[in-house]
Symmetry: C2
Subunit: 439 residues, 2 copies
């Protein structure tokens, strides 16, 4: 909540209270002693235009309208209220986010208009390089709680709800495009206000940084649900898919993948090409990963002959080809040696290291040594800890702490590599190279 982190001055405004959380309360914005940069309005819809008018008269520059009960209700009144607010905003040159949203959380400035007290969360995420834009407030809350839990750092976040006044998803994208702290933008989108503007904006932004989108309202049932949620028209799924393909947007199948991919972009370099080396102590996981590679336009690297010669010195029950199966008795030395070998192979663009932690010779040291090897490469490396051995959480924390993404399902791990390759192809070839990962 804004009170807990923000270092600027706050003016609580309410005509019926004298103190809120021990701060002096002002009856209206006119009585506030200095110009205000940002007003957050959480009042019943019918009186919001009057309050916006007062803000305008008092030089407020920006407003977040949290309240719902506008266009998304489907009523004429709701839409008329939005129209009236838009008119006032234009008269005073104010920019307004919302209505029907929870607004902004920015860990760098401490601005936080979410109505979620810290004690009800697992904590807010740390400062970092992922920006998140979400039409839905609850989904943004979910995403940032996961970021806090997974240690993913945030640059800026904004929930923009109905986007019905004069700030929509394209304006926000344009703004974040120029934010130096943001390396990747993740979005949850139900519908857009201006499709052509969104198209042009995306095409521009993706030249500078990757945009990852989870699109909802893809089906008739989903589209119907979006109308009563954010009052938006979901549009046809085919049009959105075409738009995303032509603008280099990375699509995420669900919210988990949205964060997986954003995290991969901020922690990993882009691979030069699409060949992947897989190292595993479970043949089955190797097979699942190989399947996922092909489904994501990646290829099993064909190792250099020198690498193959070296791999043939492994014990006979190991598999010396890609995926390299180090077998159930794999130990620290075998993992370290083979991972180094694969990462040094010029035929390998990226690597996936799969470890079943309950393997009898896997130790804490195995993870430490692997991190050492991985830190010395300029290729992307993703890990998959395939089981829930009791050291799992400890191994996971230390890998992620060193910027190596950890997954439990090999398919999910591979999809993030696919996203890196897809973005790299977009940057290099534009939409001539239309290979998309399978959805």
């Amino acid at each position: 909540m804004i009170l807990q982190e923000f270092e600027g001055t706050l003016y609580p405004i309410n005509p019926h209270a004298e103190k809120i959380l021990n701060r002096q309360v002002y009856p209206n914005i006119r009585t506030v002693p200095e110009p205000v940069d940002l007003a957050i309005i959480a009042l019943a819809a019918p009186i919001v235009p009057k309050i916006v008018q007062e803000c305008g008269e008092n030089g407020v520059k920006g407003i977040i309208i949290v309240t719902g009960g506008f266009g998304e209700t489907g009523s004429e009144t709701g839409t008329e209220l939005e129209y009236e607010i838009r008119r006032i905003a234009s008269q005073y040159g104010m920019r307004i986010i919302g209505p029907n949203c929870i607004g902004i959380f920015d860990p760098y400035t401490g601005v936080n208009s979410f109505l979620v007290p810290r004690e009800r969360t697992i904590g807010y995420p740390k400062r970092g390089n992922v920006a998140i834009l979400s039409q839905s407030g609850a989904i943004l809350v979910t995403l940032i709680e996961w970021c806090a839990y997974r240690g993913i750092g945030i640059s800026k976040t904004c929930s923009y709800g109905n986007a019905a006044i004069n700030v929509n998803e394209s304006h926000l994208l344009d703004y974040i495009k120029q934010d130096n702290r943001t390396k990747v933008i993740g979005m949850y989108v139900e519908g857009v206000r201006d499709g052509r503007q969104f198209f042009e904006t995306l095409k521009n932004v993706t030249q500078v940084k990757p945009v990852v989108i989870s699109k909802a309202g893809k089906t008739n049932a989903g589209a119907k649900a979006t109308r009563s949620h954010t009052g938006s028209l979901a549009g046809s799924n085919e049009s959105f898919n075409a738009m995303f393909r032509q603008t280099g947007v990375i699509t995420a199948i669900d919210l988990e993948e949205l964060l997986d991919i954003c995290n991969c972009f901020v922690t990993q370099p882009l691979p030069r090409g699409n060949t992947v080396g897989i190292i595993t102590n479970s043949g089955g996981h190797g097979v699942l990963a190989a399947d996922a590679l092909e489904q994501n336009n990646l290829r099993l690297a064909e190792f250099d002959s020198k690498t193959i010669d070296q791999l043939h010195t492994l014990p006979q029950h190991c598999t010396p080809s890609n995926p390299v199966d180090l077998a159930a008795d794999a130990d620290t030395e075998r993992y370290e040696w083979v991972t180094k070998l694969i990462l040094n192979d010029p035929q390998v663009d990226a690597a996936l290291v799969i470890i079943i932690p309950s393997g009898p010779n896997i130790e804490f040291q195995t993870i430490k040594k692997l991190i050492g090897v991985i830190k010395n490469t300029d290729k992307p490396v993703i890990s998959c800890l395939g089981s829930t051995f009791k050291q799992f959480e400890r191994y996971k924390r230390i890998l992620e702490g060193d910027g190596i993404p950890v997954h439990t399902l090999p398919e999910r791990a591979v999809r993030t590599l696919g996203a890196l390759v897809e973005y790299n192809q977009w940057i290099q070839y534009g939409d001539e190279k239309k290979e998309k990962r399978v959805l």
Copy 2:
């Protein structure tokens, strides 16, 4: 490990040791003082035929060959060894699982041939009603560790590796079909030895209990990897899909879904039809769930007019249609009342209850009251706890403890309901009703 749980008599056999873990060791099977039911062989491949011969001579009924280095190596020697063992097994009427597998874990009898000591796992799963068959040993270990972690009870499990002697996936299915403790069978399959036999077996077994399969080796890259893993031919993905459709098999997209669906079958009744009521305090999650419904051949229930009248008494910022959005301020009373209402609606076959636990009025009591309502219905109910609020794990445990599956992604929750409906249609209409969930 077998020593820790099994209550029958164990005879360690090794020509070079006198004691193993403080037990008397026998130099060979001939010196064991009584007939043996099951022999577990973990010796180098070349001497396995000789040991199998000795077992035959001493009246052993069944054998698990753990060792690898047979047909999966692609060498002629490996295949010849398998042929020789098959000949001996046939001569003595022995049934042999493997080679290249970890065999059986059965929590009811305590038989456990896995080479995973308890101290390296988070514990083995409790007794229950899910049987798991897996071609891969490490994947079976992963699955049962997840079962232990998630509280999913197991009836029997078997990893069968190369299935190259005289026990294959079809024999195991036939056996488990008759096991009264097993209510659902989950399988991880890379390839099968006898496609026609597998087809006939599946068609039979699915009449009695659901079979859920995660198929690997679906792509060229994956198929290549299966050859060096379990020496099996993955077959064409199209043939397998056709087989699964014609035999009523439920396919799982990954290992997580394999368990999700099995868990759903053992905890939930089959729904009468395919209509679902969604209750949520996050509109966005409602949209995602609605999308997933349509992608899984389910329908948003069209509520009875009495239900709709009642829903219109909710506060105006709630959404009184399906998905029912109880809004950010949803509390215990609202959740309890609406869930009861929806479950009592004759137009509703199943329900999905979505809760963002960090909502300001969600309390422990909300979960308790919901469980009370859900326990009084004969319809399947799945829950989705959409965020990582610090009470998440506690809420999850109590819901799952009362047999209500918990998911974090609405899509995953919906897919399990889709599996129930798909199986119900198979039982009622056979393969005339060919609607499959989207993969």
